[in-house]
Each structure stands twice: as structure tokens, then as C-alpha cells.
């Protein structure tokens, strides 16, 4: 065991993954500088420039070339520098990576991982704060995971590398260095498609993922202190979604607050709410609450706080469900 933060855990996961000769890491500035977040620090020295590849600034080229490598037997891990810069490469993801298994009827597959740092809360420049996870979740043929802890970061990354299909691996920027915990030194995986029941309680279920787990954790403390018995679910995997864990929890608590940092309309939270009403409507004691970002461009540093869903928002939403 080594105590580490999420950035270090992803680094450890990458190092483990690169032990497999078929794995390459490819992206802008991932080699010499170790990535703009230093997540790939030291990997170039260990695995060499053939396997840890610094590329020209060209997202379509990066994803497209990695896709070509994947159909020819490699297992590329792509790093996109920031979520807001995925769009130039988005056509490759949606038109090729996500579709090749189907359009070649399993002859060619794209077992690749697309790592994307995402999210706001660090007062970054324009285009550096997006939470567009739902676009990937909405694209047939992709799996989408979002770790919120160092343990899950390494385990989900290794599961993503092992997976025979393309996995979009979202890294909450704000959480990279926010928490530390013990992470096993040996390889392990956290299964894709399984949510984590973080806390058990009886009155209300808080459901979220990624950076929002920090706010949810703080809300849990406050609510518990005021005598509410709170259940907490970290979804971790948006696709496939572990509907069972969510539904089971709602059957017990009858109340839910769904939290996402992304804009409100057609966000991934809406899918969770829809699943709840399809499968557990008659267990509900109150309307499901949503705590989300707004349908605005994420404001720059000085006004950013108005955008971010807060601990207080979650606490209030939970109390609203408890009124009924």
C-alpha cells in the first residue's frame, strides 16, 4: 500500500498498464513534461518514446491514430489535455471509435482508453472547465467511467485498459490532489458497471459521481449531524449504469437527491431520475431532487462559484425530500 492522490493513482495505473507491451500512452505533452497535470510523470523515462508518445497539437490525429493502432492489435491510452479540447477529435470518437465493432461485426475492435480531465472549480481559463460527460454517455458503443477516489482511479483505469471496448475515462481535475488514501501497489481492477455504496442509511439517498462526491461527502456529514440517516452512492460508471444498486437504495429510502456538476438540461442526472421513476416510482415518498450546474457557460474565475453546485444546495435538496 502507498498513500497517494488521484493524479498519483492514475500515474501508478498507467505504469502498471504499460507493463503490457501492447499498451501505448499517446497525447499532447504526455512525455517530456509528464502531462499538464503531471499525471504521466516519469513514464517516458521508464517506457521510452515509442510507447509514451508526445504528439503534435491535433486531437483528431491523436484519437484517429490511436484508433488505427487499436484495430491493429495495440491498446492505446489517449490523453486529451482538457475536456473542452476533445471536440476537434470528437468525430473520430463518435464516428469511428464507437462504431467499428458494429460496422465490422466484431472483426475490428477499438480496445482503447480515452482519458479526459474534466470539470470546473479551479478557476481555469475558458474551455478548461467543461462537464460534457453526457455526450459520451449518449453515444452508443462507448463505456464511460468517472472515478472520485485514488483507489477507484487506479482500479477503474486498469479495468478500462483490460476492457475489450473503448472506454472514456474522466478525471475530475479538482479532485486530482484533493484527497489521499492507501492504494495497493499490486495490480487490481474496479469493475466497470458497478456503483459503490459509499454510506448506508435509511432516510434519503444522495447519488453522484466525480468531483461532486466531495460536496456529497460534506453534505453527508452535515445531514448526519442533524440526525438524518443518509445513504450515499458513487455511480462511478455512467455506462453501463448500475441501475440495480440505485433502485435497491430507493426502495429502502424512498427519497433521492441526484447531483451533477454538468448543466441541468438533459444531463446524466436526468437519466438517473428516469431510471428511478421507471423502476421504483411506487417506492418514492417524495419527488426526486436534482442538484446541478446551470445551463450556462461555466463562468470564469471571479464568478465561478455561482455555477458550482454546493454542499448547501445538496443539504437543502435532501431536506426538501424529507418534508414529504
Amino acid at each position: 500500500m502507498t498513500e497517494m492522490n488521484i493524479a498519483q493513482a492514475v500515474n501508478a495505473g498507467l505504469a502498471t498498464a504499460l507493463e503490457d507491451e501492447r499498451v501505448v500512452l499517446i497525447g499532447e505533452d504526455v512525455g517530456t513534461t509528464g502531462g499538464v497535470f503531471r499525471v504521466s510523470d516519469g513514464l517516458l523515462a521508464r517506457f521510452g518514446p515509442e510507447r509514451v508518445i508526445d504528439t503534435p497539437v491535433a486531437e483528431s490525429g491523436i484519437v484517429g491514430a490511436a484508433f488505427g493502432m487499436a484495430i491493429n492489435g495495440l491498446k492505446p491510452i489517449v490523453e486529451i489535455q482538457f475536456m473542452g479540447f476533445t471536440y476537434p477529435g470528437f468525430d473520430q470518437i463518435i464516428s469511428h471509435v464507437a462504431r467499428i465493432r458494429n460496422r465490422s461485426r466484431h472483426r475490428f475492435t477499438a480496445p482503447m482508453v480515452i482519458r479526459i480531465p474534466y470539470g470546473a472549480g479551479i478557476g481555469a481559463a475558458e474551455h478548461h472547465s467543461e462537464s460534457a460527460e453526457v455526450i459520451y454517455a449518449h453515444t452508443p458503443g462507448l463505456k464511460v467511467v468517472v472515478p472520485s477516489t485514488p483507489y477507484d482511479a487506479k482500479g477503474l483505469l486498469l479495468a478500462a485498459v483490460e476492457d475489450p471496448d473503448p472506454v472514456v475515462f474522466l478525471e475530475p481535475i479538482r479532485m486530482y490532489r484533493a484527497i489521499r488514501e492507501d492504494v495497493p501497489d499490486e495490480p487490481y481492477t474496479v469493475p466497470i458497471g458497478v456503483a459503490e455504496l459509499v454510506e448506508e442509511g435509511d432516510d434519503v439517498t444522495l447519488i453522484g459521481y466525480g468531483a461532486m462526491m466531495k460536496e456529497i461527502g460534506a453534505a453527508f456529514e452535515l445531514l448526519t449531524a442533524s440526525g438524518v440517516s443518509v445513504e450515499v452512492i458513487d455511480v462511478r460508471s455512467l455506462v453501463p449504469l448500475d441501475t440495480e444498486t440505485i433502485i435497491e437504495s430507493i426502495r429502502k429510502t424512498g427519497r433521492a437527491v441526484v447531483v451533477q456538476e454538468a448543466p441541468r438540461t438533459a444531463g446524466f442526472g436526468a437519466e438517473i431520475v428516469a431510471q428511478i421513476q421507471e423502476h421504483a416510482l411506487f417506492s418514492l415518498e417524495a419527488p426526486v431532487e436534482r442538484v446541478t450546474g446551470w445551463d450556462t457557460i461555466v463562468p470564469l474565475r471571479r464568478a465561478e462559484k455561482h455555477y458550482m453546485p454546493s454542499t448547501e444546495d445538496i443539504v437543502q435538496a435532501a431536506h426538501r425530500t424529507l418534508l414529504s
Partner: protein, 345 residues
């Protein structure tokens, strides 16, 4: 540079300089071009009969496609488009797959094991970078396969052309970029696609080798492709080849070329037909007779007919099966949706 395209056979079938291939091999490639044309014409007819969905003819481009693939080895990659059936087939992709695809059936996209031909790219331009990736992977894995990507003049206007060429230049990947400049991108003529004098000129900017070739000349196409393949295999990097040819038919069966071009171009290029000039050459060498030609055409016609019957005999996907192409294993949410579809009356 790139002032005149390389030519080995004049439209009259006269050999210029030395033939890059022995006569027997030219006969084999001639036969392949004939076969490709039989297939292409049959597909157009079947489309009109309502047996195929939209079809993109490649008549006139047989030399560019067969000549390029002739320079490859079996294990090399072919990454092409909707108009590259001739190239795909000659590299081992069966007619039945191509026809299945055109009947509207994804199973056509499955190349046989050991045949490294990707399903035809429908998005214009997105696939060229894949041939950079496959070539790069070959090098990382330590095998000496090369990758050939085929595309049109229109595709060179897409941003992805730039990224693919740039990556190929920077990483010296063993990729052969084969631009079939057939004069048109649907209704847009080549001179409104780019202000560059030739497409081959673009190679200079990317630091890769370039070549301009008469795309209706089987021998010249083979020669430049073979040089490019040899360079790629020797670790000397990529080549951009511009093959000057002509789209004799409409863009696809849904297109009406009279809206944007006169028949002049078609008539002019009919005089430069890629098949006829090899025929004349073979005849002058005593290696062609009409009986042989009739036999080749009729045999290929039967083979295509059989492939069509096979494709048509295949039962379409069941409702259940449409979920099976998405992932290695059907995940729970898709299994659930599958159960919903099963209940549909």
C-alpha cells in the same frame, strides 16, 4: 516538380520506357480490372432494380485501385472509402461482403480473418489517419506491414487530411496515401477544392515523398505505388500519391451529374480508358484475344451473381441481433432494452 504525371502506357497502349511488370502479371491485373468493372456495372444495374441501396460507381478508376493494391503484400492494410470496392476486393474482401454492405447489412463490414481491409469509410476524410495508426502499430509490433489508404480529391479538403499527413510526416509511418483525383467531389470540381497546383504538391509541406501519376495507367500506378511501398517498408516513411483519373459515372446512383457538368469530360476520358489501353498493349504483345476476354467477363459475372444470391439469401438481422454488435458482451442496460424490443408486438 509534379509538372507531368508519370505515364508508362499511352492511351493507345504504347509502352513508354520499361514495363515495371512481366507480361503474365499484367495479364493477371488486366483480368482483375475487368472483373472489377463487371462487378461495378452489375451493381449499378441491381441498384436500379431496387436490389441494392445507394451505390457509388468507380468506373474509370480501376487502374488506380488495382494497380495500387498490386504493390501490396497479403498482410498489408487497405483503408478505403465507399468508392474503393475494386481495391478492397483485390486485397481479399469478398464480393459478397461488398454486396451485403450495399444491400444495407452490417455483416458486409466483416472482412475475413487475415484480410486487413477495414469497412469502407462513409465519412469523407476521417479514415486516412487510421492508416497512419495501423502502420504505426505494425512498426511498434515489429512487423513490416505497410498501410494503404485511398481517398478522393474532395477528402484532401477535410481537416483530417492535414492531421493524417502531418502525423505520417512527423512519425515516418509506413503509410501510402493514394488520392484518386477523379475530378469531382459530388458537384464540386477539383479546382474549387484547393488552390494548390496539384494535390501531390501538398506532400512537400508535410515533408513526405510525393508523386503525380496517370491514374488510368495501370503500369504507372503500380510503379509509383511499388516505390512508395518499398520506401515505407524500408522505414523511409510515407508517400502522397495523386492519381489523375475521372469519375465516369454519377457520384452515386442518387446523383444527377447533368446538373453540374456536361458530358465533355466523360467523352474525353473515355478515350483514356484504363482497361482499353492495357488491352491494346496486351494485344500488341500477342497476349490478348476476344475469346479469353469473353470468358473472363462471363466467369466474373457468374461469380458476382452467386455473391448476390448468397447475400440475398441471408436472413436479415433479428431484432435481438441489432444489440449484438455494440460491445464484446451485452451490458445490462442493452439487455434490458433488448427485452423491451422483444415484447414489441
Amino acid at each position: 516538380m509534379f509538372d507531368t504525371p508519370l505515364q508508362r502506357l499511352t492511351p493507345n497502349g504504347d509502352l513508354l520506357g520499361e514495363s515495371p511488370l512481366p507480361l503474365e502479371e499484367i495479364r493477371r491485373l488486366y483480368q482483375a480490372m475487368l472483373s472489377a468493372r463487371v462487378y461495378d456495372r452489375k451493381c449499378s444495374v441491381m441498384q436500379r432494380q431496387g436490389r441494392l441501396a445507394t451505390y457509388a460507381q468507380f468506373e474509370g478508376q480501376e487502374a488506380s485501385q488495382i494497380g495500387a493494391v498490386a504493390a501490396l503484400r497479403k498482410q498489408d492494410w487497405v483503408v478505403g472509402t465507399y468508392r474503393d470496392a475494386g481495391a478492397m476486393w483485390f486485397h481479399g474482401y469478398p464480393w459478397v461482403n461488398l454486396i451485403l454492405g450495399r444491400t444495407g447489412d452490417e455483416r458486409g463490414g466483416r472482412a475475413p480473418d487475415g484480410v486487413n481491409v477495414t469497412p469502407p469509410s462513409i465519412t469523407v476524410g476521417g479514415h486516412m489517419i487510421h492508416a497512419v495508426g495501423t502502420a504505426w502499430a505494425s512498426r511498434i509490433k515489429g512487423d513490416d506491414s505497410v498501410s494503404l489508404t485511398l481517398f478522393g480529391d474532395g477528402a484532401t479538403s477535410e481537416g483530417d487530411f492535414h492531421e493524417a499527413m502531418n502525423f505520417a510526416g512527423v512519425y515516418k509511418t509506413p503509410t501510402i496515401f493514394m488520392c484518386q483525383n477523379n475530378g469531382w467531389a459530388i458537384s464540386m470540381p477539383r479546382d474549387r477544392q484547393t488552390a494548390s497546383k496539384t494535390i501531390a504538391h501538398k506532400s512537400i509541406a508535410y515533408g513526405v515523398a510525393g508523386a503525380l501519376v496517370d491514374g488510368n495507367d495501370l503500369l504507372a500506378v503500380y510503379e509509383v505505388c511499388k516505390q512508395a511501398v518499398d520506401r515505407a517498408r524500408a522505414g523511409e516513411g510515407a508517400t502522397l500519391i495523386e492519381a489523375l483519373t475521372y469519375r465516369m459515372g454519377p457520384h452515386t446512383t442518387t446523383d444527377d451529374p447533368s446538373r453540374y457538368r456536361t458530358n465533355e469530360g466523360v467523352e474525353e476520358w473515355a478515350q483514356k480508358d484504363p482497361i482499353e489501353r492495357v488491352r491494346r498493349y496486351l494485344e500488341s504483345e500477342g497476349a490478348w484475344d476476344p475469346a479469353w476476354q469473353a470468358e473472363v467477363e462471363s466467369e466474373e459475372s457468374d461469380r458476382v451473381e452467386t455473391a448476390v444470391s448468397e447475400a440475398e439469401a441471408l436472413t436479415p438481422w433479428t431484432a435481438d441481433e441489432i444489440f449484438e454488435g455494440m460491445f464484446a458482451e451485452i451490458p445490462p442496460h442493452l439487455a434490458y432494452q433488448q427485452s423491451l424490443l422483444r415484447r414489441r408486438p
